[in-house]
Symmetry: D2
Subunit: 135 residues, 4 copies
């Protein structure tokens, strides 16, 4: 599954260079990831109700072309990899058909008391859902 998430740039996300401040892409990635997981059947609430958190372990961002207000963007999210303890999402942000940004986020799964969990063993249906969707 490659998920498409449509999103307008907000005025308050710009900076004095007249473009979207680079920190805000990490927030756009989070929105797109939450949308992806919801469509996969694993919303944030679903994960929490099963007793799991999925903290961000690492993030990478490549800024190719600046975005600006009032651009409308498409964020394409996909699972890049998944192993027994963690998984990686990849993001591409397009304005019309032009690739403006690409990034990744790496996650683990913890219990609600923040103990790292082997997702393959302790949450296999989520593990399988991710693996089946590796692009």
């Amino acid at each position: 599954m490659m998920n498409e998430y449509i999103r307008k740039i907000n005025y308050y996300e710009t900076d004095k260079m007249g473009i979207v401040h680079h920190s805000n892409y990490v927030r756009i990635m989070e929105e797109a990831r939450i949308d992806f997981l919801e469509k996969l059947g694993y919303s944030h609430e679903k994960l929490e109700s099963e007793g799991f958190y999925s903290p961000v372990v690492a993030v990478s961002c490549k800024y190719k072309k600046p975005l600006n207000f009032p651009d409308e963007v498409r964020v394409i999210t996909s699972v890049k990899s998944c192993n027994g303890v963690g998984f990686v999402f990849a993001y591409e942000i397009y304005k019309e058909d032009e690739l403006m940004f690409c990034g990744t986020s790496e996650h683990c799964i913890t219990s609600t008391d923040y103990r790292i969990v082997r997702i393959k063993n302790e949450f296999p249906q989520f593990y399988n859902a991710l693996c089946e969707n590796i692009k």
Copy 2:
């Protein structure tokens, strides 16, 4: 007590008009209030350890002159009023000697399960500390 809190403007707080985005003043007010309460002996942790939260009930902002990166500002915080259930802080932001902004925030006190508390009765030492510092 009038508390002075010194603070640099951050680049990421600007917007494409080239000035500090108006939403960020609410955050600067929070920083200044936390600093004030800490100096008064009622840090956030102290309040929580006593079993209290102090949520924001209302906020007002008057933007007089724009701030910009890399301005350095002084925020003068004072208690404007305090009654049995709530209290109001006033804030003035100066750049050098010029008043750039003024604002207020109104607060109540709740227990950690969000029940509103009569601070005069249930947390009198905090109530007194506030009243003694009304400007």
Copy 3:
């Protein structure tokens, strides 16, 4: 005209109290205002192309009930008043049918070199559009 703007709360807008941080409502108000003005025919780009900015002069916020992730909210925006030099927008944020927040923002109009402009004289069609939509 009363404009309805639908909006999901983002995870990154919450704070450690588990609710939407109070500064973010000012940003939601901005989104709703931009949406309102766009539908009125006066998008940000339209205003700029006519040679005008509309800076925020003042803001007020009343926090009635906390919002949380992943709430979906409706923001109702209306023109509250308009005179020769400025205008005021009013905002109500609803979760389902419950009023969670209300706020106002006050604006003036400047030329792109930040000189305050008498909108009734120098930008009458915008002035009229606002006046016709006072709620």
Copy 4:
């Protein structure tokens, strides 16, 4: 040169997991970088007055341990590499003596009309200052 930048965590930087939201580290990195460059003699204004911008081309973040309000952190910034067209900063965030986060940011230099500039040729004193400070 390794620059040390001291910084308090702000309440509004936390999220509902009770920790600093991961997007905010990119902002802390920016603060630390601006502080570093200022001490190096190349403040943002100095760069601009020379006719240069230094946009962020890429960012990477590794979240090792969560930060929380009201932590005080030390950000250690250093130049990791520098070639004819770009340079990379490395950041480590410590709470007391524990490494909580490390990250990098990659930059190029452009003219104020956003044309990429060969910094070694067109801005050699800045290039040299960076190279001399590679850690």
